[in-house]
C-alpha cells in the first residue's frame, strides 16, 4: 500500500488548496485598496458653476473644481492676437494629445483658442509636469518678467517650479519639462455668461 502512494494526487491537492488560499488572501486586498479610492461624497462634489462676466478684460481668476484650481481668463483682442505666429515652438499646437478632456465641445474653429468662446479661456490651473500653479505673465517680451521667460516671449504662463512655459492658450512650449498643454475639462454655457464645469 505504502509503495503505491499517489504523489501526483497529493501534490495536486497541495497546489489546489494553496492556490485557493492565495487567491482568497489576494482578494482581501480589494476592499482595502478600494477604501483608499475617492469616497462617494468626494466624487459627488464634481461640478462647479461660475459666471464668467465677473472676469474683467485681461483678468485671470482662479476658481475651484473638484478641489483643483481652475483658471478663467478674459482674453482681450490683443491677448488673442498673441496666440498666433509661434506654432513651431509648441509641442502640440493643435491639442491632439488627450482628446477626451475637451471632446465635449472642441471644434476645428476653436481648436487654437482652446475654449468655447474665444475670449473666455477655462482650463485646469495645474502644470502638467508636477501640478504647481503656473504664474500668469500675459505681456509679451521680458520687460515685466525679466529672464524668467525667453527673449521672444509671446505672453502666457510660466511655472515657477521647474520652468515650464505655456502660451496664451495654455499650450506648452518646447523645452518645458511639462509633457502636455494645460488640461481642459468638459464644460458648457447654460446661459450667455453662466458656465457649468464638469
Amino acid at each position: 500500500m505504502s509503495d503505491t502512494l499517489d504523489h501526483t494526487r497529493r501534490n495536486f491537492l497541495y497546489v489546489a488548496a494553496g492556490g485557493m488560499g492565495a487567491v482568497a488572501a489576494g482578494a482581501t486586498i480589494v476592499p482595502f485598496i478600494g477604501s483608499m479610492l475617492p469616497a462617494a461624497d468626494t466624487l459627488a462634489a464634481s461640478k462647479t458653476e461660475f459666471d464668467v462676466s465677473t472676469v474683467v478684460d485681461g483678468q485671470l481668476v482662479v476658481i475651484q473644481w473638484q478641489g483643483k484650481p481652475v483658471f478663467v481668463v478674459n482674453r482681450t483682442a490683443e491677448l488673442l492676437k498673441q496666440i498666433d505666429g509661434h506654432d513651431e515652438v509648441l509641442k502640440d499646437p493643435n491639442s491632439e494629445a488627450i482628446e477626451e478632456v475637451s471632446a465635449a465641445w472642441i471644434t476645428p474653429e476653436n481648436r487654437k483658442y482652446r475654449s468655447i468662446k474665444q475670449e473666455y479661456l477655462i482650463m485646469v490651473a495645474s502644470c502638467t509636469h508636477l501640478g504647481c500653479i503656473p504664474l500668469y505673465k500675459p505681456s509679451p517680451g521680458r520687460k515685466e518678467w525679466g529672464d524668467s521667460v525667453p527673449e521672444d516671449w509671446a505672453g502666457g504662463w510660466h511655472c515657477p517650479c521647474h520652468g515650464s512655459l505655456y502660451d496664451m492658450s495654455g499650450r506648452v512650449m518646447n523645452g518645458s519639462p511639462a509633457p502636455h498643454n494645460l488640461h481642459l475639462m468638459p464644460y458648457e454655457y447654460t446661459s450667455d455668461t453662466q458656465v457649468v464645469i464638469g
Partner: protein, 405 residues
C-alpha cells in the same frame, strides 16, 4: 555590572523561562567585533537612538495633533492650528515638536554618514550583500515616513510638496493615474490625503522598527566589517561588543546629543533647512509658493528628477537612482573591500560624496540655467559611479593588504 545582574536569583528565574543569558552572551558579551573600528562605526547605534527618539516624540505629538483640513474660525485649518497649539499651549509641546522635527533631519544626517561609511569601506560586499540591501529598504521607508510626516503641519510646503510628489506617481504609464488616486483619495491633495498620510506616517516607523531588527540580526550573522576590510579571525583581532563597544557607542551618543540639543534649543529651524520658512504659511490650494524645494535630505533626488526635460524620464531616473543601490553589491567586482587599498575607487567614492552634496545644493536652490547644467553633470556622475564599478577592478592596482588587523 552586567555580570552581577546575571548572577542574581531573579535573573536565573527569567533565564530559565526565556534563555536570556544565551541571548545576552551571543549578542553582547561574547559577540565578537573587530578591534580596529573607528568612529565612523558609531552611526549605526546613533541611528537606532534617533529612531527611538522619533517614535517616542511622535507618540506624544499624536496625542494633540489633529489630521483635518477642515477650516477653523481663524481662517486656518484644524491641522495647522493643532500644530500651533502644540507649539504655544501644550505643556512642553514646543520641545517635543522641535525634537521631532530636528530628529527627522538628524536621522538622515546619521543614516547618510552610516551609508557613506559602508560605501567607503566596502561594507556592502560579500558576505554582507543582504545586510546592505535591508539597509536600502530602511532608507526607502525612512524617506517615505519623512514625506508623509511633512504633509501633517498642512503648511504651504507640506501641501505643494505632496502635490508634486503624488504627481510623480501619476507620470508612470498604465498604473500612474490609479496610484495617484489611491495616494490622494480625491482629485487633488486634500483632507482625505491628510488623513491617510497621518495613518501611514504612524505605520512606517513600526515597519522601520521591525526591519531594523532584521538589519541588526543580519549584521550579527555576518559580523561587522572594519576599516581594513579584511576578514578577521575571532579572538586574535576581535574584542567582545560589551563592554568595549557599548562604551564607545555611549561616548558617541554623548557627542551626538550635545549637538542635537544645541539645535533643538537654539536653532531648531536651522535657517530654513530643517523646517522650511514657507511651511509657517497655511496651505493654500490656489497659490503655489514662488519656489518649492523639498527638505534638504531629499534634494539630491529632486535634482536628478529636474535634470531631465521629459517628465517620465525624470521620474524613472529618480527611481533608478535609488533602485541602483540595491544592486551595488553585485556591480562591484573587486576582491578588495576597503577604499584604503583601492586608489581608483577611493577617488571615485570621494567624488561621489562631493557629487551628492552638489546635487543636494542644486535641488535646494531655485532653478537657473547654470544650476541646471551643474545638476545634469552631477546626475551623470551619480550614475557613472555605479556603472563604472563592474570595470574598475580590471585596471585598478590595489595596494598590498596587511596580514592581520
Amino acid at each position: 555590572m552586567l555580570d552581577k545582574i546575571m548572577k542574581s536569583k531573579l535573573f536565573g528565574w527569567v533565564d530559565e523561562r526565556t534563555g536570556a543569558e544565551a541571548i545576552i552572551k551571543s549578542q553582547l558579551t561574547e559577540y565578537e567585533v573587530p578591534k580596529n573600528l573607528n568612529y565612523m562605526w558609531n552611526f549605526g547605534s546613533l541611528a537606532l537612538l534617533v529612531l527611538v527618539l522619533q517614535i517616542l516624540t511622535g507618540i506624544f505629538l499624536a496625542m494633540y495633533y489633529k489630521p483635518s483640513a477642515a477650516l477653523t474660525m481663524g481662517g486656518y485649518t484644524v491641522a495647522f492650528d493643532s500644530v500651533e497649539r502644540i507649539m504655544r499651549d501644550v505643556n512642553f509641546g514646543w520641545l517635543i515638536r522641535y525634537m521631532h522635527a530636528v530628529g527627522a533631519s538628524a536621522f538622515f544626517v546619521v543614516v547618510y554618514m552610516h551609508i557613506g561609511r559602508g560605501l567607503y569601506y566596502g561594507s556592502y560586499k560579500g558576505p554582507r550583500e543582504l545586510l546592505w540591501i535591508i539597509g536600502v529598504v530602511i532608507l526607502l521607508i525612512m524617506q517615505g515616513a519623512a514625506f508623509f510626516g511633512y504633509l501633517l503641519p498642512w503648511g504651504q510646503m507640506s501641501f505643494w510638496g505632496a502635490t508634486v510628489i503624488t504627481n510623480l506617481f501619476g507620470a508612470l504609464p498604465v498604473i500612474g493615474g490609479f496610484l495617484q488616486e489611491v495616494l490622494r483619495g480625491g482629485f487633488a491633495v486634500g483632507d482625505p490625503t491628510l488623513n491617510r498620510f497621518f495613518s501611514l506616517h504612524y505605520l512606517f516607523p513600526l515597519l522601520l522598527a521591525a526591519i531594523v531588527g532584521g538589519h541588526v540580526h543580519a549584521l550579527h550573522v555576518v559580523h561587522s566589517n572594519n576599516p581594513t576590510g579584511l576578514d578577521v579571525h575571532e579572538g586574535k583581532s576581535t574584542i567582545p561588543f560589551h563592554p568595549y563597544y557599548t562604551i564607545k557607542d555611549a561616548f558617541g551618543v554623548g557627542v551626538f546629543l550635545t549637538l542635537y540639543c544645541y539645535v533643538v534649543f537654539f536653532n531648531p529651524q536651522m535657517g530654513g533647512y530643517f523646517i522650511e520658512v514657507d511651511n509657517y504659511v497655511p496651505a493654500n490650494n490656489l497659490q503655489t509658493p514662488p519656489h518649492i524645494a523639498p527638505v534638504w535630505y531629499l534634494t539630491p533626488w529632486y535634482t536628478i528628477l529636474r535634470s531631465f526635460e521629459s517628465k517620465l524620464l525624470g521620474v524613472v531616473a529618480m527611481g533608478a537612482s535609488l533602485a541602483i543601490l540595491f544592486v551595488l553589491p553585485f556591480l562591484d567586482r573587486s576582491k578588495v573591500r576597503s577604499a584604503r587599498y583601492r586608489p581608483v575607487y577611493r577617488q571615485m567614492v570621494y567624488l561621489f560624496f562631493v557629487t551628492v552634496i552638489i546635487l543636494g545644493y542644486c535641488g535646494h536652490s531655485a532653478p537657473t540655467p547654470t544650476l541646471k547644467l551643474v545638476g545634469q553633470i552631477t546626475t551623470a556622475y551619480y550614475f557613472a559611479f555605479f556603472l563604472l564599478l563592474p570595470f574598475v577592478h580590471k585596471f585598478e592596482k590595489t595596494k598590498p593588504l596587511p596580514e592581520e588587523i
